[in-house]
């Protein structure tokens, strides 16, 4: 038997069905009651779950095979729009209607003709299963499915691992039509599909996709001013299709399989962007080259983020720092009156780059700020990653006070990487990284306009943010 939390019962039942034990017995623990009092409430049902004889239903066996029709609807386009926007009531913890096939917005109705046109964007056959196009261990970051599993080339991609669905190229194309993609976007969409379109379960994770390589210009992505804003006829539908695939291929439903309490606004309409490869400082590699591909290869990084920090430096505080050594940042760095370039990352570190959340970071830097780092002496992105990671070290006594470290340390039962010792053996003044497991967990994307600012997102951890070849899906 198992113990869950009451609001997660829908997810437990979904998982149990997918694992073949739909009648598993469970009791609900409380989110709020103190442990001993909580246990008093349901300890007897725990023992009963192990001993009470099975009901006839619990003795039953069979096969769960939901019907699957290739053609879902026949009718006019207006009728189709109504059909695809149908909703379903989701009980507690949602208690609201949610769209069955869409993200809540109208879609492009996926007629056979439109899907056929979409499929001209790839050489892969419509009935081909979405499979891994490369060995997950060949990249800078091992590709983990869930936490701890690595899949091999040719294996079918499981969508939203809790349910173990499989998808075809055609089904991906259907979602691409619905999102408003063009056929030239399909290789990108298929590469994104190769990720399995996870949404995390209990966290408020956001899903971002970042394109690197020639295809970004081919399809007209915006890597300049407003790169994360609406307006791009490529970026917007590609960002959106991730969420549609999560819903339709992965079965992501708030309150059932997608349990983030609040959700994340970056998932509304989706987020797809690209780097400005032409603006990279000398010696700085693009995201494709950083991850074992050539600069002529097109790839997509699928990012599971949650936090985002927007660092605007208006009105002119950053410019004053670098031009003449004046302003707040200059005072903070004690470089008053000294012209730059100055390492603004030190300001970020002092201001609390890891204050609200430990772990590695992904930095989106405008070209000017990336150039300043180069002029300061960072001749590669790796040198920046190394600096950031080392700068994150703090005494273990301080690290213990953070909000999520019980999980990566396995309840302090695990081994601390730099010492090789159990966390519990270390003194409070032992210096540990608050910024991730290694420098390679960091990422820099150069892009944006000219007003000085940066965005800081959660970085790579637990094998997240893997890279997929777009060219493999052309």
């Amino acid at each position: 038997m198992l113990i869950d939390l009451a609001d997660q019962v829908n997810m437990v039942e979904e998982w149990a069905l997918a694992q073949g034990v739909p009648k598993i017995r469970y009791v609900h623990a409380s989110r709020t009651l103190p442990g001993p009092e909580d246990v008093d409430n349901w300890i007897e049902p725990v023992f009963e779950a192990l001993t009470q004889p099975l009901t006839e239903e619990e003795k039953g066996s069979g096969k769960w095979e939901p019907p699957q029709n290739r053609v879902l609807f026949e009718g006019t386009l207006d009728e189709g729009q109504t059909f695809y926007q149908q909703t379903k009531w989701i009980p507690s913890p949602v208690n609201a209607p949610l769209c069955v096939y869409t993200d809540g917005l109208p879609i492009i109705v996926p007629t056979e003709e439109r899907v056929r046109e979409m499929l001209t964007g790839t050489s892969h056959k419509p009935d081909e299963l979405i499979t891994y196009q490369s060995d997950g261990q060949s990249q800078r970051v091992e590709r983990h499915i869930g936490i701890g599993e690595i899949r091999e080339k040719g294996a079918a991609v499981p969508f939203q691992p809790s349910i173990w669905r499989r998808a075809t190229v055609e089904q991906v194309a259907v979602n691409a039509v619905m999102a408003g993609c063009k056929s030239e976007h399909l290789p990108v969409v298929l590469a994104i599909a190769e990720s399995g379109c996870g949404t995390s379960t209990t966290g408020n994770a956001s899903q971002w996709v970042c394109i690197s390589g020639p295809i970004a210009k081919e399809i007209g992505m915006n890597s300049g001013c407003g790169m994360l804003n609406p307006g791009s006829p490529a970026g917007m539908p590609i960002g959106r299709v991730y969420q549609l695939m999560a819903i339709n291929l992965g079965g992501a439903v708030p309150g059932v399989t997608r349990m983030g309490s609040i959700g994340n606004p970056f998932n509304t309409g989706g987020t797809c962007f690209t780097e400005n490869v032409d603006a990279l400082p000398p010696g700085w590699k693009g995201m494709n080259e950083e991850n074992g591909f050539s600069n002529e290869e097109s790839v997509v990084m699928v990012m599971q983020g949650s936090d985002m920090l927007n660092n605007p430096h208006a009105p002119g505080v950053y410019r004053s720092l670098q031009k003449s050594g004046h302003g707040g940042i200059a005072r903070n760095l004690d470089v008053k009156g000294v012209s730059g370039p100055h390492n603004f990352l030190e300001f970020y570190a002092r201001a609390g780059l890891w204050a609200w959340r430990e772990g590695s970071k992904t930095l989106i830097l405008i070209p000017e700020m990336a150039q300043h780092l180069y002029e300061i002496g960072f001749k590669s992105k790796e040198e920046v990653y190394e600096w950031l990671w080392k700068r994150s070290f703090e005494p273990l006594g301080d690290y213990r006070l953070r909000g999520t470290n019980d999980f990566p340390t396995n309840g302090w039962m695990g081994i601390e990487r730099t010492s090789g010792k159990h966390w519990k053996e270390l003194d409070d003044d032992y210096m540990v990284s608050a910024g991730g497991d290694s420098p390679s967990d960091y990422c820099i994307i150069v892009g944006g306009g000219e007003e000085e600012c940066s965005m800081i997102l959660m970085g790579r951890r637990f094998g997240s943010n893997p890279i997929y070849s777009i060219d493999a899906w052309r």
């Binding site: 869950d4 997660q8 069905l17 099975l54 053609v71 207006d78 349910i163 309840g411």
Partner: protein
């Protein structure tokens, strides 16, 4: 036929669910005393610490085995351990 009245076949965006063979629950135990019951802990020490204490106190004649992780994936039983385990309590699932 007016364009707005034209009928189209519209395709299914939903992925294919791999058929799942559903199994009956394992037979229940006539009693717990003398049995080996495994407590598989996945986080939530505020719940699982008092739960472990209570289970051991209420049933001292049970052979309680415990594996503990703070993560979401329970530590699995080996093939040998499965042969000698009569029941499992898994919690807290999240």
């Amino acid at each position: 036929m007016a364009e707005k009245d034209k009928v189209y076949k519209c395709l299914n965006p939903v992925a294919v669910q791999i058929p799942v063979d559903t199994s009956p629950l394992a037979p229940r135990l006539s009693s717990l005393n003398g049995k080996t019951i495994h407590f598989s802990i996945t986080g939530e020490p505020d719940i699982t610490i008092p739960l472990e204490k209570r289970m051991k106190a209420d049933y001292p004649n049970v052979n309680w085995t415990v594996k503990k992780t703070y993560g979401i994936n329970p530590l699995t039983l080996s093939d040998e351990e499965m042969k000698t385990t009569d029941g499992v309590v898994l919690g807290v699932c999240w």
